[in-house]
């Protein structure tokens, strides 16, 4: 069955995006900050974050900050909560959250909360439970959850709960494992997991495991390595991860590796990318694969990083 090709994955992460005319590099330009989060968190889980020059990363991140306090996906790009969370997470990896004007960033995020408790992603107003998670996770990492109406935020998330126990992007939206991670994560961070019917949701989530051992994100969809994160982290947060076959899932993820050049793909024999590499390795970390740092299922950061933030006074 094989092993996790740690050395090759480290090399892949460090060389990704360098290829001329690579489709991924064009696509990545505007979400480079997300890419930095995926790549650097992967390196940290693999215990190789020290191969990166901290100051270079931090000064580049700070150049992505907009005058509003939010972050763009790259230098000169418009701010959005999607990139703002990545900026905070990457700074957290390096224990550098202090370089931020914390209240300015927190004010930007809290300004995006709507009357009904939901969050918009930016000034243009698109609403999605993804943004609820991002806002709550960001503010928690900044110790500024008091800047929003947490009760209303929770109420909105609960209004997106479906008959199958899962959650969608807005009230009535189909349950989707990615949205479920966001909602369960936000409820976990705010101490509101009692709003979840854990047995019902746990059953829906464990039904996501298909014959190959991989997980899908919705009924009758193909398995994809990224759900090794979304489904697995949710199952852990509601304490139902023992309901799936973990060994089969480990094998599925290992089967998705490019054993020659490193990197992980969505399904066996597909092209690798940094997004799936992160989710595969983060998933293996949740499965307690040997040699990997444990990752926190709610904050999506290594446990030691999260402890550093919350156990410090």
């Amino acid at each position: 069955m094989g092993e996790l090709e740690i050395v090759k994955h480290v090399k892949y992460i460090l060389t990704v995006e360098k290829k001329k005319d690579d489709f991924e590099s064009v696509v990545m330009e505007h979400l480079r900050l997300n890419g930095a989060y995926w790549g650097l968190t992967t390196l940290d889980i693999l215990q190789k974050l020290d191969t990166v020059d901290v100051n270079e990363v931090v000064s580049w991140i700070m150049e992505c900050q907009h005058e509003s306090g939010g972050f763009g996906g790259n230098i000169g790009h418009d701010p959005h909560v999607l990139y703002t969370l990545s900026a905070i997470q990457v700074l957290a990896l390096f224990d550098k959250i202090d370089v931020l004007d914390i209240d300015k960033v927190a004010d930007y995020i809290s300004s995006l909360q709507n009357e009904d408790g939901s969050f918009s992603g930016d000034i243009w107003g698109e609403i999605d439970t993804r943004f609820s998670y991002i806002a709550i996770c960001s503010l928690a990492l900044l110790h500024r959850l008091d800047k929003i109406n947490v009760e209303k935020a929770v109420e909105y998330i609960v209004s997106c709960k479906n008959l199958d126990g899962g959650f969608g992007c807005t009230p009535g939206g189909e349950s989707h494992a990615g949205q479920i991670f966001c909602c369960v994560g936000a409820l976990a961070i705010t101490g509101s997991l009692h709003h979840i019917d854990k047995d019902l949701l746990g059953w829906w989530l464990c039904e996501r495991q298909v014959k190959s051992g991989g997980l899908n994100g919705r009924p009758e969809k193909l398995p994809d390595v990224c759900y090794s994160w979304w489904v697995l982290s949710s199952l852990i947060m509601i304490d139902r991860v023992h309901w799936i076959d973990k060994g089969k899932l480990v094998n599925f993820i290992l089967d998705c590796q490019d054993k020659e050049n490193g990197g992980i793909s969505d399904r066996p024999n597909d092209a690798v990318d940094v997004f799936h590499t992160y989710f595969g390795i983060a998933g293996l970390s949740l499965l307690e694969y040997r040699g990997l740092k444990p990752i926190d299922p709610a904050y999506a950061l290594p446990v030691d990083v999260v402890n550093r933030i919350f156990l410090r006074k």
């Binding site: 990545m28 979400l31 230098i75 790009h77 479906n162 189909e174 076959d245």
Partner: protein
């Protein structure tokens, strides 16, 4: 319309005849602005020349906040090169507002790119922004557009999200239940269509809510179950119609009856066994038929019925053996 024709020509001829922006007379007065990746980028990105040039000019007009016709054209070119660039879309909206462009043309422009980029958040968000401004007279257009997406990918999450937004904001509920039925006729396994059906029966202002529709919807779900008992969706739909309240489910004789029918033909159907388990755990008194159907599955006569069902489930669904083991512990003691 003109715009549409232009695009098709442009796309076909792009490879051969793209004139670099720096050689176009209308851009002579603008100095392109290169991307600043920092002095020693951690992850340096090598861009293609065309992409670099377009983005260098975009940066120049963006920083000058030039809301002009040529800037609008430029955002179009940038979007064709990378339709995921959030800043380009956002600037395009500012220009559209400033120039008071006819937004129906904008919808046509989105049609051009949307069909090849059906999972791009920016495009859907932009479409919603345009549709909201155009109001309820584009409702049917928007429903039709999402319908075209579903004919290629019937579970597209963005398109479903857009469709629900259209119904709730712009209207167009009249044929929605029939549309769900049409999709389910095509693919009874389409969970998105089942979800939409639940959305319609609970939220449509035309149908009177779940209380009114429940009876016929239970019949609909049961019919679907009998067609494909291994289909997870109608089983969940059935539970949802009773808001997961097992007492109400047990009070509808059609539910136990469909379980017997399914188990008679397909004795290892996990969904049917699971429903039976729920009923038994709720002190449901099984009929002789149901008892016989379960007894036929296992010769372990020592176990009580509910635990026997759990044991069978552990065998037929080994990947979730721990789940069924846990269910066994929740079986209430015999009265």
């Amino acid at each position: 319309m003109n715009q549409k024709v232009e695009f098709e020509v442009e796309e076909e001829e792009e490879e051969r005849s793209r004139i670099p922006i720096s050689e176009r007379p209308e851009w002579a007065d603008v100095r392109p602005l290169p991307q600043d990746d920092g002095p020693n980028p951690v992850v340096p990105i090598a861009y293609s020349d065309e992409f670099s040039e377009t983005m260098d000019f975009f940066r120049a007009v963006y920083l000058a906040d030039e809301r002009s016709a040529r800037a609008l054209e430029l955002t179009q070119e940038a979007i064709f090169l990378n339709s995921g660039n959030y800043t380009v879309w956002q600037f395009r909206r500012l220009i559209l507002e400033a120039l008071s462009v006819d937004l129906r043309e904008e919808l046509e422009f989105i049609d051009q790119i949307a069909k090849n980029n059906t999972k791009n958040y920016q495009i859907w968000h932009h479409r919603r922004w345009v549709a909201e401004k155009l109001g309820s007279n584009v409702a049917s257009n928007e429903l039709q557009f999402t319908g075209e997406i579903f004919s290629q990918d019937a579970k597209n999450y963005h398109a479903w999200s857009h469709r629900q937004w259209v119904l709730q904001t712009l209207g167009g509920w009249d044929d929605e239940l029939a549309y769900c039925d049409e999709l389910l006729q095509n693919d009874i396994f389409n969970n998105s269509a089942w979800n939409q059906r639940y959305f319609v029966v609970t939220k449509s202002p035309r149908l009177g809510g779940l209380e009114v529709t429940r009876d016929s919807e239970v019949a609909y779900a049961i019919k679907a179950i009998l067609t494909k008992p291994e289909n997870e969706s109608p089983w969940r739909y059935l539970r949802g119609l009773y808001k997961n309240d097992v007492n109400s489910i047990a009070n509808d004789p059609r539910v136990a009856s469909v379980c017997v029918d399914v188990l008679t033909n397909e004795k290892e159907c996990a969904h049917a066994l699971n429903m039976v388990l729920d009923l038994l755990c709720n002190h449901y008194q099984p009929s002789i038929e149901l008892k016989n159907a379960i007894d036929a599955l296992s010769d372990n006569s020592d176990l009580e019925l509910a635990k026997k069902v759990c044991s069978v489930l552990q065998l037929v669904d080994p990947m979730r053996a721990n789940y069924w083991e846990w269910r066994k512990t929740t079986v209430p003691a015999r009265d």
